[in-house]
Symmetry: C2
Subunit: 356 residues, 2 copies
């Protein structure tokens, strides 16, 4: 089969990790007889530098006309003083909204070979960790109205957290479908003791649950969830939550694995179109030095094969190759222990390729 | 001196831990020549049971007429199905708002004797932890308008996050004043890359910082803060943040100490009036059995002596007595390791008293 992929390398280490990931993708294509057609477009700081717009119309058009989007990373101190709509992050929000990518899947997995990097004690982690955070990505306070207002207390600024039933319904379905392929447990996180939008969230998730008799559903307040992720992360299978709470909790869940340089993500819409990117940032301090860890982006390609193209075997093949490279001791700087040999981005790519 | 204290024992283990704390307070009073006059009033589930109102007017009146309020804990499964304004939690929100308690101080401290309970690896914690989270408590999305609305996507519910400059100014001052007595470092946490209210927050905190040349100020996005608390909690001294982010991060900070049964809190207003309560909940499962750990409530009394009454020496005396009791090996069930002798609430109280 032929697949059209929009490629946004972005800023910092983005280009390096994307190049590495596409090399792996091509190797998988050669092995299984698929052809991936790449169209490179600009977004983020580099797009701003090029045309003063972090998300040019051409970029959006190409992404809309593609089967999937690969994104490296955007942002860096260079663009930190720009106004909101010019900043690299604006490209992310624009892509999510314009492509309708309402479901952000963030697996928090502990790789056996990297267990030592986990900041939590071994008694807590035991034989590993495998949580999938499903974050709503095109609603809530990220996209509600915002502005300024005069109040009793003087000038004020506001942002509106808002959720429609339909928005909650569709993200809940993603979470339950995901749970059906896993441990069949969904934890919905909200702040229903305070927020009206959370009460609507909870009620709607309960309604969706009726169609999934095999999945057990529980609810947790967000403050408690932030504690439980540390106290006993193994209690979680799928966590589903709002855009804002998901931003916080998915990063917390990533950090408890200790290997944020390893974690992929997928942002999905109603059809199979998706955007795939590593969880880590643009790491400007090591950009262009061939030091970056490409594994999170490579694993994002595995998610793309699975979720956008339905190629389960090809996806597994990448994941297994990454595991084997780690088990064989290959380490970029970010995941190396003291005394371990540190290899380059290119060497790690070659290692993974050799195990495909 | 004479002090008037409103006492809200509340639900679950609330009465037991408050009784213990008042016993310690009386002992300190006897030692230093102060007299504490208690007026017991109802709030929370027990108030609802009594008069179908979780926060009766009489309770508010007594609290307003007192120099400080002691609160045990409110809530429990018994009242979980009541509508929002009848629920025990509504009493907390009402007390905070009506008493003008805009600053919630939540120290996250690791007690030397309880180091083993910390869920983070010893390399991360090293010689201990001492973070103070300063959470805004009477503004933001907790108290903004909320309701229902018809949208393009159908029926929706919303909540408004709103902050006035003056609200940010006064909580920022609390944080900087606190930092002056500590390591002189403030980390302000927001989501200024997305929220208008966070941009106002950041700008206002910057303005307040100009009056505190000795204090260093940094900003962090909330998603990053939730990671950094796990990766390297020792980088923090004072964290100041909004009501909603503070709810999440203060609980996360408590959990990384591993001893949530030990942590006190203070909620302060513009004058010296304050409400003092343990961070832990009402623990209905062990209520009435004399098993509860009273130390968080006892330590809350130390905060009261310091912040509401300006009695530093008396406050230190309590903190030292608690440390000595722990060092001597006294343990309630929640903080006992396997094989350690478990004592009752009353025995722990007696132990602390013996070290005053
Ligand atoms: C960069 C920022 C706008 C973004 C977000 O808050 O969604 C990021 O934190 C993320 O999680 O992808
Ligand atoms: C019970 C709840 C309303 C409350 C809050 O969210 O403020 C609690 O979580 C707290 O932190 O004191």
């Amino acid at each position: 089969m032929d697949y059209k992929i929009a490629v946004i390398k972005g800023d910092g280490i983005g280009p390096e990790v994307v190049d590495s990931a596409l090399e792996i993708l091509d190797a998988v294509g050669a092995k299984y007889g698929h052809r991936f057609h790449y169209t490179e477009v600009l977004a983020g700081g580099c797009a701003y530098d090029d045309c003063e717009n972090p998300l040019p119309k051409e970029t959006l058009d190409v992404c809309k006309a593609s089967d999937a989007v690969v994104l490296g990373a955007v942002g860096g101190p260079k663009w930190d003083d720009l106004p909101g709509e010019k900043r690299p992050e604006a490209a992310l929000l624009g892509l999510r909204k314009e492509l309708g990518l309402f479901a952000n899947l963030r697996p928090a997995i502990l790789f056996g070979a990297l267990k030592d990097a986990c900041p939590l004690k071994p008694e807590i982690i035991k034989d590993g960790l495998d949580i999938c955070v499903v974050r709503e990505l095109t609603g809530g306070i990220y996209f509600g109205d915002r502005g300024f207002k005069d109040t009793d207390m003087g000038p004020a600024a506001y942002d509106i957290e808002i959720y429609a039933e339909k928005e909650v319904e569709r993200i809940a379905k993603v979470a339950f479908d995901m749970a059906m392929k896993r441990e069949k447990k969904v934890m919905s996180v909200d702040k229903a003791n305070i927020l009206e939008s959370s009460r609507l969230w909870r009620k709607t998730v309960e309604k969706v649950a009726k169609d999934y008799h095999e999945v057990s559903l529980d609810h947790m307040y967000v403050d408690n969830a932030s504690m439980q992720l540390i106290r006993d992360p193994k209690q979680f299978d799928v966590i589903v939550t709002t855009n804002m709470f998901g931003d916080i909790l998915s990063d917390e869940a990533s950090m408890i694995t200790g290997s944020i340089g390893m974690l992929p993500s997928a942002s999905l819409g109603g059809d199979n179109k998706g955007m795939y990117e590593p969880v880590h940032g643009s790491a400007p301090d090591i950009a262009g030095q061939g030091k970056a860890n490409p594994l999170a982006t490579i694993l994002s390609m595995a998610m793309m094969l699975k979720y956008s193209f339905g190629l389960g075997e090809e996806s597994d093949c990448i994941e297994e190759a990454v595991t084997k490279a780690l088990d064989a001791g290959y380490r970029t700087g970010d995941i190396a222990n003291e005394g371990e040999k540190v290899i380059s981005t290119a060497e790690m790519t070659a290692a993974v390729k050799s195990y495909l």
